[in-house]
Each structure stands twice: as structure tokens, then as C-alpha cells.
Amino acid sequence: MIKIKTTDRYNITALRSFMTNILSLVAGLVAISIIFLIAGVNPIFAISEIFTGSFGSFYGLKETITKAIPLILIGTGLTLAFRAKFWNIGAEGQLLMGAIFATWTGLTFGQSLPSYIIVPMMFTAGFTGGALWGIIPAILKIKYSINEVISTLMLNYICAEILTMLIVGPWKGKTRFGFPGTDNLPDQAILGLIPGSRIHYATLILAIICAIVLCVVVYKTRFGYEARVVGENPDAGKYAGIDFLKTSLILMTISGGLAGFAGVGEIAGIHKYLGYPAAISSGYGFTAIIVAWLAKLNPLYAIVSGIFFAGILVGGDAVQISLGLPAATVDIVNGTLLIFLIMGDYFLKHKITIQFSKK
């Protein structure tokens, strides 16, 4: 008879934690291989293609970093919100609202102002836009007990529709020949790129600074403490005299604002004009949810997990082209890896012994 026993594990070393994650990823890749086999593709070739596509070539690496920028920004913001159990599923909308605000600022003031004034102005505007879109569900939740999952999710669609309305209507550019989209931003309002790539380095630096600052905020400050208490036990938060409205407003300002930053980066660094919502963000707001979870809600780790998932996005594009796999391949890879990482977490926290005995 085989007896399986699980006991809780208490002393978790950093090495064990790291190895568990690596093993989970390997196990996840094995599972993905099976899917590829079913699809009739050589799995070893497909997987190596994903990773060489994203990390293996100089071009791929540049693209990976480019896509990591919004993921890191949004992901770090989400770690804070999720820690307070504020389920912000609306980063996509907050990103778009940031993009709208930044575009307006850039188009309105860009011509007459130098770069070092207009760029910070656009970032400020983008942060404000994302934050405003973020605090709406916070107010709805605290004042009227409206579930934030629903409200943040729905606000995504509202924002996307507002954006579409603007670009087909009042903001439609004269240079677009009747196609939807605003005019290009003036040159002063465009972010500098690392030569030979699409990496808008100002946003990248901003993302890393935000991750470090947020890490300090979560673990060392009173606000971070209050957010964690509220997330763990709202009743205890009330008893401890924590102001829920204030806490939620601050954290959604930060979470939404960082998504807004990501929107500015995409507009001013990559697209240079406001186009259709799906063109501005390829689901960064949703992918960042997985980024935040993989980072174990630690803002610093979100840098690593952001780059990792950006790699999968880029590598997914690569296999799409070279192997003719459907676009959903990336989502399958993402989802499978996430499931295996979560399962690995269980094995990290529990010790499993298998005993063989006769009888």
C-alpha cells in the first residue's frame, strides 16, 4: 500500500524557493510540449523558438524589453492593489485613459513647448488620467459597496469606447485621410528610443524606479502597512481606525496612475498617435495580472516576471509566424505556465512523503 503524507513546511530557504520555481517552469514546459505535439508541431523546436525568439537574438531581446515596460509598470501597480485585496481588473482601461490624457496634452501644448517640459507634462497627464479612472471604482466600492471586479472590468469597455469615439469623431486627424486616429504627436512630445530599437528608455527607467519605490512603500511605510492590514482583514482595519476611503483612494491612484504611465509610454514611445484601443494595448492590463501574481505581489519581482512574460509575448509572435500556429498560442503558454507556478507554490509550502508498506 502506498501512503502519501503531506506536512506543512515552515523553513523555506531562498534556494528552495528558486529551485521550485525553476522546476515548475520545466514541468509547465513539458505540459506545453504535449499541447504542441497534439497540434502536430515538434515541441522542442516550438519551445526553443519561443525563447530564442524573445531572448535568443538581439532583435528579440530588444522587443522583449520594449514589451516589458508596460507590463512592469502595470504589474507593480497591481501588486499594491492586490495586496489590499482590491481586485483591479481595470488596468487596461486605466492605461487607455492615460493614453487619452497624454495625447491631448501632447497635441495641445506640444508644438510650442520644448521636449523637457512637454514630456513630463504628458507623463503627469497620463498618471492623472489613469488615476482618475482608477479611483472611480474605489469610490464606488467604499461608498456604495459596489464590487470592484465588476466595476473595474466594465470601465475597461467604457474607456475603450470613449477612445474610439474620440478618434473617429472630434479628434480624427487631418493627416489620417479619413481613417480613425489622431494626428501624430509633434516631435518634441515623442520619447527618445535606444538607437536601433523601440525601447523608449525614459519609460523603462521610470518603470524600474516605480518598482523600487513601491517596494519601499509596501514593506516600510505606514500606508503599506495599512493596505496590507485592510487586505488581510477589513474588520481589523476598521477596528484599528484605518480610513478605508483614504487607503483605497491612494492605492488606486497609484495603481491606476502607473497604468496611465504605461499608456503614455505606448503613445509617446511607440505609436506616436492615438489609434484604436486594441492597437495601443495588446492586453497589457490583463497580462499584468499574471505578472503581479508570479511576482508573489512583490513589486521588485514584478520587474523579472514582467520581462519573462514580455518574452513569451514576443516569442509567441515568433512561433506564430515561423510555425503558423494560431494567435491563441501565447495565451495557452501563459496560462499553462501560471497554473504550474501556482502548483509549485503548493509543493513549496508542503512537504510530501510517500511511504511504501506491505499489505
Binding site: T7, Y225, G241
Partner: protein, 496 residues
């Protein structure tokens, strides 16, 4: 049960335990918080697997892998926290766990069964009410019916009286006696000596996971049981020094507070508290105590009336503002309000105090000070934990309570509002806590003590108020002879 051992993170919760129970017997399982009573019973009920040892039912060795198998072996358990679905009807709850629930129209059959049981044991229970409308005692009866309907010969009751009012306890005892007469076996887990002496035939004492003694209740007395339980003598009578009243600290003036159900829960209550005084509010729980405590500490809004601390109005001020005026609060539902279970012990050691200058500077927390503070509380209040870096949710209920008490008392508050502070604590911790309350009193603080435990009220309090249905039935000095009628006052049939 033979040679049962179980360990959690390397610490034995149960070590080599042998336990036997015969039909028609009520066995008491006595022990301090964390002595391993609940663990042992969870093993018997199949919620945990023992590391070693064997369980035999009717002399046949069995392996109980889950509660369903345990029910099939005739073992039923009533947990300390009821496992009922609040929004469903009584009969729906019973049907849920019942083996023979018919697929179609289950209610009729179950209703008959419930009525038959009610009659047999003299219950009064309305099968068509929703569970949330029932009192704790009635909910417990549903759990008992559920277990019996499933054919339980052995019924495990985990601290059944901790949620009951004194009258409900009496009713429970008579139900248990009747079950015993029918040949059922009962394991009664408790740390209240009086109940064990009253109900049980035999008692087994657990201490740190081991059995340290077992005897028939008629051959023993409370004092020796208590000694067995904590391994030393307990002072049951605390000497309260005579102290002069100091200046007025709290004044409550014609206070009205609305309860959860939208009705007035506190009606026109007025009283004053002074330095060097412990003021007890006695009463059956649910008569407005919680609402009164919450209104004073700012968690619940005041409908009308005034609350003043040191002559300053604090009516409807924020909980933090009131805390900063020197009011500490040990809430009634401690696990619910008092801690954030996923945070570290040291995080929870400063809950409510984290904004004080001691622990924070502008926007930042001073974690080295916080950790030192946590260590002091753990040491002074004997919180059993292997480190202050554990998640607070891993501690046992009694230890969480010690942590909260330590946190609230260590700040030397001017006013401590303590709701049932010793509820759920073992004898040793209770004694220790009472000494602390008296120490606070001596240092010039005042304590507002809500308690159902009359012994505690009389031991500690200078003055006693009896609350019934949101009103004070009497406010008397604790040595006033008229307090011999306190039972009548608590039941609302006498007012002075």
C-alpha cells in the same frame, strides 16, 4: 484510540495518547489552550491523520480518512464554530448532511424526523426558520440533530458551552443526560471545571499533548483537576486592594445606539467611570454589550447621547481619535476584529498603534522597534510561538487572544474596554490576565469589563451594572447585598 501521535511543524500536538470510551458514558476532555484537545478529536473525526497509533471502533481497528467514514463508524462531531449555512432553512441544513435525504421533496421527510427528535429530547426548534434567525444555542441543537440523524453513537462536542448563555447551557446539559440514558457516548471538550464536574462521568486531562491524568469525576474535585491541568496550584481568589476613586475618566450620558438589525440596542444608558476602578457590566450576551463597547470605541455610530473622555467629547469620533485619547479595546470577536491573520506576528503587535510616534516616523514604520515590542509582548504574555516572524493565523486561538490582550494592555491605556477578556482562555492565562487588569487599576487606569462570568465580575469589579435588553437594570457596588438577585436582573425580571 491507542498510541496516537500527531505533530505540527515538529512540535507534538498529541503524543502517545490512549483513550477509551464505553457506551452510556460522558467523557470530559480537559486541558488548557493548545493542549491538543481539538487536534485529538479532529483525528478521531477523520479531519487529520495520525502520524502513529491506531483507532478501534467496537474492537475492530479502523482507518478514518475523512469525516464521511467517521460518520459511517457512528462518530459525530459538533464543532466549536458551527458548520451551518446561514441563509438556508433549518431543515435544508439538516437535509444537506443526511445520508437518506430523498431526492424529491426532501423537506417533508426531514421535517418529520426533526419533529420526532424535538419531542424525544424536549427541544424547541422551528424547522422552517432560517439559520441566521436562530440563537447560538438553537444552532447547536441543529448540529446535534444532524449528528444523531446520521446514526452517531459517539458524539464529540468541542467546547459546546462557549457560545451559550447560562440558560442554554442548562438545556444542553439536560439533552446530554438524555442521550446518555439512551446509550450514546459523548466526548465533552472543555476547559471549564464546573461543567466538567457537573456533566461528565469520567475526565481525562491533557497537557501539552500528553495525557497527564484521568479519573472518575466523583473521586475528584475542582482544585485537583485544575492542578492537573496546568501542573500547579491556581489562585482562585484574587485579592483586590482597596483603592480610592480618582478623577472621572469616562462619562456616558443618555447613550442610544442602533444595532445590526436596525433597532435600538443600547437604550438611554448613562454612567461615569473613575480612576482606580474596574466597572463590570454583567449580562447575558446579546443584550447590547457589543453595541455599547463599539459605540464607546468609535467603531459603531452613536444615535444620540454623549460620550466623554476626561471631559472631552468623543461622540462619533473616529476609532483612531478615540484610541489616541487613551482608550484601548479588546473586542468581543477577537479573531474577526483583532488581527490580520496573514501578516506576521510582529505586524499584528502594533495594529492600531502603528501610527504612534514610537513606531513610525512621518510615512515610515520603525520595524526594529516594532519587533522589539512584539518580543516583549510574547515574553510578558507567554504567547506560545516559535518566532515573531510567523504568520499570526498559525497561532492557536488562545495565543492570538494573549497577543491582542498584550497589545492592548501594554500601552497603559487610561480606559480599557474589555469584552469577555478571559473567554476561551485557560485557567493559567485567566489568572494572569486578571492580575493584569488589577495592575492597570492600581496604576490609575479604569477598566470597563463586559463579562458573562459572574465569578469574574465579583472578583474584579468595584462596581457592577447589570444590562438587559439594552438597559441597565441596576448599578451597584460589587459588595452590595442586593446583588444576590443578579440572576433575576440578568433575566430582566428585577430592576433596582
Amino acid at each position: 484510540m491507542k498510541g496516537i501521535s500527531k505533530s505540527f511543524h515538529g512540535i507534538f500536538a498529541n503524543q502517545n495518547i490512549n483513550l477509551k470510551i464505553e457506551s452510556g458514558e460522558i467523557l470530559g476532555l480537559l486541558g488548557e489552550n493548545g493542549a491538543g484537545k481539538t487536534t485529538l478529536m479532529n483525528i478521531l473525526y477523520g479531519l487529520y491523520q495520525p502520524d502513529e497509533g491506531q483507532i478501534k471502533v467496537n474492537d475492530t481497528p479502523v482507518r478514518i480518512n475523512n469525516p464521511v467514514e467517521s460518520i459511517n463508524h457512528g462518530i459525530g462531531m459538533v464543532h466549536q464554530h458551527f458548520m451551518l449555512i446561514q441563509n438556508h432553512l433549518v431543515i435544508e441544513n439538516i437535509a444537506l448532511g443526511y445520508k437518506d435525504t430523498p431526492f424529491f421533496f426532501p423537506k417533508n421527510k426531514i421535517r418529520q424526523k426533526v419533529e420526532a427528535f424535538s419531542e424525544k429530547f424536549g427541544f424547541q426548534i422551528d424547522p422552517d426558520k432560517k439559520v441566521w434567525q436562530l440563537s447560538a444555542g438553537e444552532q447547536q441543537r441543529i448540529e446535534i440533530i444532524k449528528a444523531l440523524l446520521n446514526g452517531a453513537d459517539l458524539l464529540i462536542l468541542d467546547e459546546p458551552t462557549s457560545v451559550l448563555t447560562p440558560r442554554e447551557i442548562k438545556e444542553l446539559i439536560s439533552i446530554l443526560r438524555q442521550m446518555k440514558a439512551e446509550g450514546h457516548m459523548i466526548i465533552f471538550i472543555s476547559h471549564k471545571l464546573d461543567e466538567i464536574m457537573e456533566i461528565c462521568d469520567r475526565v481525562v486531562v491533557l497537557q501539552k499533548g500528553k495525557i497527564v491524568g484521568g479519573t472518575d469525576t466523583k473521586n475528584t474535585d475542582k482544585k485537583s483537576l485544575a492542578r492537573m491541568m496546568i501542573g500547579r496550584d491556581v489562585v482562585f481568589n484574587i485579592n483586590r486592594e482597596i483603592l480610592e476613586k480618582g478623577k472621572q475618566i469616562l462619562s456616558v450620558d443618555r447613550l442610544n445606539v442602533v444595532g445590526d438589525k436596525g433597532l435600538l440596542a443600547v437604550k438611554n444608558i448613562s454612567f461615569d467611570l473613575y480612576q482606580n476602578e474596574i466597572f463590570g457590566i454583567a449580562g447575558v450576551s446579546g443584550n447590547g454589550q457589543r453595541e455599547l463597547a463599539e459605540a464607546i470605541t468609535g467603531i459603531r455610530p452613536v444615535f444620540s447621547g454623549k460620550v466623554k473622555i476626561n471631559k472631552k467629547d468623543i461622540t462619533n469620533k473616529s476609532p483612531r481619535h478615540i484610541y489616541d485619547m487613551g482608550v484601548s479595546h479588546v473586542p468581543e470577536e477577537r479573531i474577526r476584529f483583532g488581527i490580520a491573520p496573514g501578516l506576521f506576528l510582529y505586524d499584528n503587535a502594533i495594529l492600531k498603534q502603528h501610527h504612534l510616534k514610537k513606531f513610525s516616523k512621518r510615512y515610515f514604520l520603525k520595524y526594529s522597534r516594532v519587533k522589539n515590542h512584539a518580543k516583549t509582548i510574547v515574553k510578558d504574555f507567554k504567547v506560545a510561538t516559535h518566532s515573531i516572524n510567523t504568520q499570526t493565523g498559525n497561532l492557536s486561538g488562545g495565543n492570538i487572544q494573549k497577543l491582542i490582550l498584550g497589545r492592548e494592555i501594554s500601552e497603559k491605556p487610561q480606559l480599557l474596554v474589555a469584552s469577555h477578556p478571559t473567554y476561551g482562555l485557560d485557567v493559567g492565562a485567566t489568572e494572569f490576565l486578571r492580575q493584569h487588569l488589577l495592575e492597570l487599576r492600581k496604576q490609575g487606569s479604569t477598566v470597563l469589563l463586559f463579562s458573562e462570568d459572574l465569578e469574574e465580575i465579583f472578583e474584579l469589579c468595584d462596581r457592577v451594572a447589570v444590562i438587559f435588553d439594552g438597559e441597565f437594570m441596576a448599578v451597584l457596588d460589587s459588595d452590595d447585598e442586593r446583588l444576590c438577585d443578579i440572576g433575576l436582573m440578568m433575566a430582566g425580571s428585577k430592576r433596582i
